[in-house]
């Protein structure tokens, strides 16, 4: 339930909130919840009943953060938590390691290739590109079209077998 990367001691009430927030989705990849993405970092209920939710952006310019914050507040309001504060945490910085296994499967089923471990050092320039599997026909005969695509977190690939262009969720470490 609560990802290992944000392991913490939680009360029953907090665990209940984690469960509720499983229904809050990334507005740009609606098949992923903010839990799947690893964007939700912490939930704390204070003594006065105020709920403090901490989220982290995938990329610094991610325009979805405000929407996600508003969605969290609306969701919790509807479930009987009127006092909610959402904080933004930059450090530790988000990494694709926080994407859950379930999240990766949902991505692929949605037509977006999930991040794969890079061969060698990603900071090395001109390194070999990673082998990315086509989410539509599963072929590994694909090519990188551009490191940048429809959103900051994705790269653009094309499958050489079925010829479909597709998004690849970039590995960010």
């Amino acid at each position: 339930m609560i990802p290992d990367s944000c392991y913490q001691i939680v009360t029953t009430q907090e665990e209940n909130i984690w469960q509720l927030l499983e229904e809050v989705c990334d507005p740009e990849i609606p098949v992923l919840s903010i839990l799947d993405l690893g964007v939700l970092r912490q939930v704390q209920v204070r003594e006065d009943g105020q709920v403090q939710v901490t989220i982290t952006p995938t990329y610094s310019g991610c325009p979805a953060m405000n929407t996600i914050s508003a969605d969290i507040k609306l969701k919790l309001l509807a479930e009987g938590y009127p006092k909610v504060q959402v904080d933004l945490q930059l450090s530790p910085a988000w990494t694709t390691d926080w994407l859950t296994e379930e999240g990766k499967q949902k991505l692929e089923a949605y037509g977006i290739a999930p991040p794969v471990e890079p061969n060698g050092d990603i900071h090395a320039l001109f390194g070999r590109d990673t082998t990315v599997r086509c989410p539509l026909c599963q072929s590994e005969n694909t090519r990188l079209v551009s490191q940048f695509s429809s959103t900051a977190c994705k790269a653009m690939y094309q499958c050489q077998e079925c010829l479909e262009p597709f998004d690849y969720f970039k590995c960010l470490k």
């Binding site: 952006p57 310019g61 325009p63 001109f126 940048f148 695509s149 900051a152 960010l172």
Partner: protein, 267 residues
């Protein structure tokens, strides 16, 4: 709407002098990514091909994300009630602290690529160091942006090679860009009094070291691109201390138009 940051720094314990220095420096970093981010956004819908149009818009977005984190922090350091929007939209050209390079007009695609390449190398190396900055907030912002900057540098380096070692025409264009823009590269590494003070206080790395690594990267990429590294070029300075080229005023006229015409307007 603004999200509150969780990283509370030791900023409260800073002396007023140190606080002012960090405010000035954070502002300089913010101005730099804002102006370059804005320049790149001017390409949106005009890129030579769709993929590169998207690439420039994406890099612009990364830079603007970094900009917001920096302006928010600068506003907190200043503590005078100004917001990130006030800092971005309600200052005059002479108050901007970005280096001259990033305000240079887009020109053709080769000009934009070369400007980006010269900047990305610096940005990448600086952020790499700032990740360990003793100011926690700057370190957190740098850690976030460093991951993104490595993609930017890869992109611009590949394009310099493609244009330099490409066709006769692409080579002519990138050489022309080099002739036009190289003179602005030195300012990136020229420390201002603010930067020198912060270096002495242990907040900033030695820029001479960054310059050495930058030179090595440029030499490597230029060798592959069959371009020559210009020698003995007079370097233009001034942007980081508020003396800008005429281009910045026009850029700000567009960037700040809405807030100037309709003060306080919100989305």
């Amino acid at each position: 709407m603004e999200l509150a940051h969780t990283t509370n720094t030791a900023a409260q314990n800073y002396s007023p002098e140190l606080r002012e220095l960090l405010f000035q420096y954070t502002l300089q970093l913010a101005d730099t990514s804002l102006i370059l981010g804005h320049r790149l956004s001017e390409w949106c819908g005009h890129g030579p091909i769709l993929e590169q149009d998207l690439a420039m818009a994406n890099i612009s977005l990364d830079l603007l994300g970094e900009t917001r984190s920096l302006y928010q922090y600068a506003a907190e350091l200043e503590g005078q009630g100004r917001t990130e929007d006030d800092l971005a939209y309600l200052r005059e050209a002479v108050e901007y602290r970005n280096p001259l390079l990033v305000e240079q007009p887009n020109g053709d695609f080769a000009d934009t690529i070369l400007r980006q390449f010269l900047f990305d190398g610096f940005h990448y190396l600086l952020l790499k160091k700032l990740q360990n900055c003793s100011d926690q907030r700057l370190a957190a912002i740098a850690t976030k942006s460093f991951k993104e900057a490595s993609y930017h540098l890869k992109w611009s380096s590949e394009w310099v090679i493609r244009l330099g070692d490409g066709t006769e025409e692409s080579k002519r264009r990138i050489e022309k860009a080099l002739d036009r823009l190289w003179r602005y590269s030195g300012e990136l590494f020229q420390m201002t009094p603010v930067e020198q003070e912060l270096h002495k206080a242990g907040f900033l790395p030695d820029y001479a070291q960054l310059k050495q690594q930058w030179d090595e990267h440029v030499a490597k990429v230029f060798a592959e691109a069959t371009l020559e590294v210009p020698q003995n070029v007079f370097m233009q300075l001034g942007g980081k201390t508020g003396m800008h080229t005429e281009h910045l005023g026009y850029l700000l006229a567009e960037l700040q138009y809405l807030q100037r015409a309709y003060p306080g307007l919100e989305w």
